[in-house]
Symmetry: D2
Subunit: 301 residues, 4 copies
């Protein structure tokens, strides 16, 4: 078997796997990652896929979730994440970084980099985080459908997934608008709908599920309504749950606590219980392979 064929298969397979997750009757889970290291961990620990969160990637870079990082800076992060992992990555594409043409460039590059799918949302560029500020204007249905069609026409791999994120509930436009938009986006070619809510219960989500009637897979982000158990989402027919920013938040808490403790104690001696060993760092990034490769490729003395 030619390697090129194997590769083609392999390139397909991540997008393929994401598509399978979305369309499977099983409830699937995507875990947030925001750089190569966290993508490796999520992949190694057995998650079926990775959510490359816009909030998390920008926060890790030290900037705000408001398109402060350029779309090519996001791409650079994703390049490391794809290399470090072996499961499909669905990237939070915000608004697509401009109009339909920016969406086309972004999707083309995502496919070349091996990202499995993109989620774009119907807010205006530059975007604002959905949990901030009350009223955030949406783009017209017609304009957003143009972006979905542009993404689908541009993708380099039939299995690459385009998920349309409906912000109508977040923007206070009501369930009717949410369903109307979801239907339009689905008709325009979206593979799945991400319905976003910032309510503290999942009632809104369940109502959407009832009205949606399984037209296409539905993805949810239980950040604010985290107390609802997975079984309830399963029963409601949700396709995929995204745990959207918890690795970033775990990392921030750990770094702050560690920094404070080392500052106060002027010592790292007491940290051993709470931090990974150097060997764990080396094994996570694959140092062992280098030693083997040096034996294979370097002149031996």
């Amino acid at each position: 078997v030619h390697r090129s064929v194997a590769i083609a298969k392999n390139c397909e397979s991540r997008a393929n796997q994401l598509r399978a997750l979305l369309f499977s009757p099983e409830l699937a889970f995507l875990m947030e990652a925001h750089n190569g290291l966290t993508a490796r961990v999520v992949s190694d620990e057995g998650f079926q896929g990775i959510w490359a969160s816009g909030l998390s990637m920008s926060a890790a870079l030290g900037v705000r979730d408001r398109n402060e990082a350029s779309w090519t800076q996001v791409l650079d992060v994703l390049d490391f994440m794809v290399d470090a992992s072996s499961v499909p990555i669905l990237v939070d594409g915000d608004t697509g970084h401009g109009d339909f043409n920016n969406v086309r460039r972004f999707v083309r590059k995502l496919c070349q980099r091996g990202v499995a799918g993109v989620c774009i949302e119907d807010k205006q560029f530059p975007k604002t985080n959905s949990f901030l500020s009350e009223y955030q204007p949406l783009v017209s249905v017609e304009e957003f459908c143009g972006k979905i069609r542009a993404a689908q026409d541009t993708k380099l791999d039939d299995d690459f997934c385009v998920v349309a994120r409906v912000e109508a509930l977040i923007s206070g436009l009501g369930m009717g608008e949410a369903i109307k938009r979801a239907c339009a986006y689905h008709a325009a070619g979206a593979d799945a709908i991400l319905i976003h809510s910032k309510k503290s219960t999942a009632a809104e989500i369940f109502e959407f599920m009832r009205l949606w009637e399984g037209r296409c897979p539905v993805v949810i982000v239980p950040t604010k309504y985290a107390s609802t158990p997975a079984s309830a989402f399963r029963q409601a027919g949700v396709s995929t749950v995204i745990w959207a920013n918890h690795n970033l938040r775990a990392s921030l808490a750990a770094v702050r606590a560690t920094t404070r403790r080392v500052r106060d104690e002027q010592s790292v001696a007491g940290l051993d219980e709470s931090i990974a060993t150097l060997d764990e760092v080396f094994s996570t990034v694959g140092m062992a392979e280098i030693e083997e490769a040096e034996r294979r490729y370097l002149p031996q003395h």
Copy 2:
């Protein structure tokens, strides 16, 4: 007062501050950071300076500490770190990414990006992490002194610091070679010497300090000999202690534990105690400023 002057002063001040730390009789501490977010935390929590660790930056990117990230990819990380922090950053420059001319380009860009100093080491490019493999050949004293002089001649700010890292103890060449090299590097213009050791006690470090006789500031990295208290370093006349990789290790441990727990529980509901809130994420990256800026710069309805 012209802002340009203020800026010039400000640009100076981080390199200035690093220089002051190095030459002060007080024992100073630099805490590792590896991206914009961790640089912000270290800066906010009151550390005097940041160690931009090569091991940590590469591990965060998901690659190995073997010059797998290009020097401009490192620069991109540093750009975010400078923007996110307000204390001086000393960057782990590995071997300088090639010969004297690569050192010149790297130093020039570091100065433009606002980094306060660089530490270069006398190993060969591409470098290997000092805690891996037994024998690592060093470059000649003459070649390394050329790099130090090139760095000093190139820097755009007189206060920018060039720290020469001596790997002789790590490479098993003995104390005589370490002192000989440190003297040569100091004579070539190094502002400070970083003496590296992988022994589990600080005996080697203390011997170096006795023989060194305060020719210039000495920087140490107590990773393997972490149980030695700071007071002992203070007494020995050490200038600066680097806590070299503990935020990365704290982050890795937290992310792995969080990922495993969410995978097993199919829920994030129980995480609240162990992760930062979304509000902490927003405040760490400065979201509040955006709201104020929107009032100032956006049309008001």
Copy 3:
């Protein structure tokens, strides 16, 4: 004299020089460049400043003048241009790459990279080239003034110049709208006004100059009305003329002719008259300095 001061002065000086050009009673000329090499040539050949054209930079990259290159990709081009030249660079900032906040990030990075000034225009993001398509909607005066104020509040060097480009004539909104907008932009803090026209004569420009009455410096781009002599612009009180895209066009013509000829002749033997020698290439990029530096920094055998 401390080098840091010299540098600070030098950093000031490019923005300073651009400011001096704009406010001088002499007619000044900026010549287009689109990469490091062309910036070096324009600088070496004695032009007072460089116009980093959006059209030219994107065309050189092989993409369209429609924000297909991200703003950080533009920044990467500018980084090389600043390093390769010693005269001030005014960059074509298009619409500022988003809203006021994107303008702030762009301006901050431009200042750090040593660019002397930015020109932003009152069209919508993503922009379209002004010579294409008839109707191009402008943003509101209020929104654009917010961008100008954001740029001025953000700049790291008091001398950094913010030029406001008025597209009212291009968009067919008439002279009244052009003057109204120019006045508002000037009041919002623009250092100079770029009045753009795609008429084949300069009549429109001269009318603007009469009505403008020297409120602040005016910059023009005689691409379509190239037959008007410089003396006429001088007499009309224009501050600065931009030759906007001619090096890119010269380069494209030369490359196409060379490629065709080599294809047809299957030989490069006849090209000598029409191409630079290798020595000219080496001297343009400063190869001689390397030999001298090798003697200074490399071990001598």
Copy 4:
């Protein structure tokens, strides 16, 4: 037919096409390009392939052919070149940017970006241009063979080509060493040998061809011995001729002449004969497609 299959085929086809060129009995020609625009021109004008010259790419960036641009900066240039063209690109990989492991990373990224092949040379990192300085030390045969094997083991597409450049003649080590190295590199897996010469006649090349006896395809770079006709190379059994830097040199000459003329004449009015029209610029980068796409994807009024 699935697009993913078509894409896989298409991805294969550029490397495939390069492989076919190298192994075909016909003499093939690669023309130098150094950015997206020139890659487009070379592709549009009917050349079978593109030589992404290290000298030209670095000169266009304004830096020296001495690994001043990082390997990821080169990658960024190549990304634009692949997008802008439709013929195979063979990239000048210099020494591979470090040791075998840097070669592996570079090759992996080249395959992901759609580059068809890489040429690596047996000099030391950082490299110096072959036409400069007399004595340039080579790496050992064993070390270089390790790089070739590493490249072949890493490539993601079986058709991706690894060309080994022999610098023995350039370094004055004689024909025996050149043949010895070529044989070793071929045995290590090189798909083709690039034999480089800086003599003003092709005698050395022809002697190499006689001694080589067609073990594998031979690539040459007739820059110094440009007066030799293609027919002579054909007769000698050369596989592929690279016109290595002539578009960069054409561009430099044109830009310098244009800049001088505009400076002297304070006008662009007389340039029309010697520069491309704006319409040619727009059509070269594909502006027409945008208008069509806007009709398809933007809301119509």
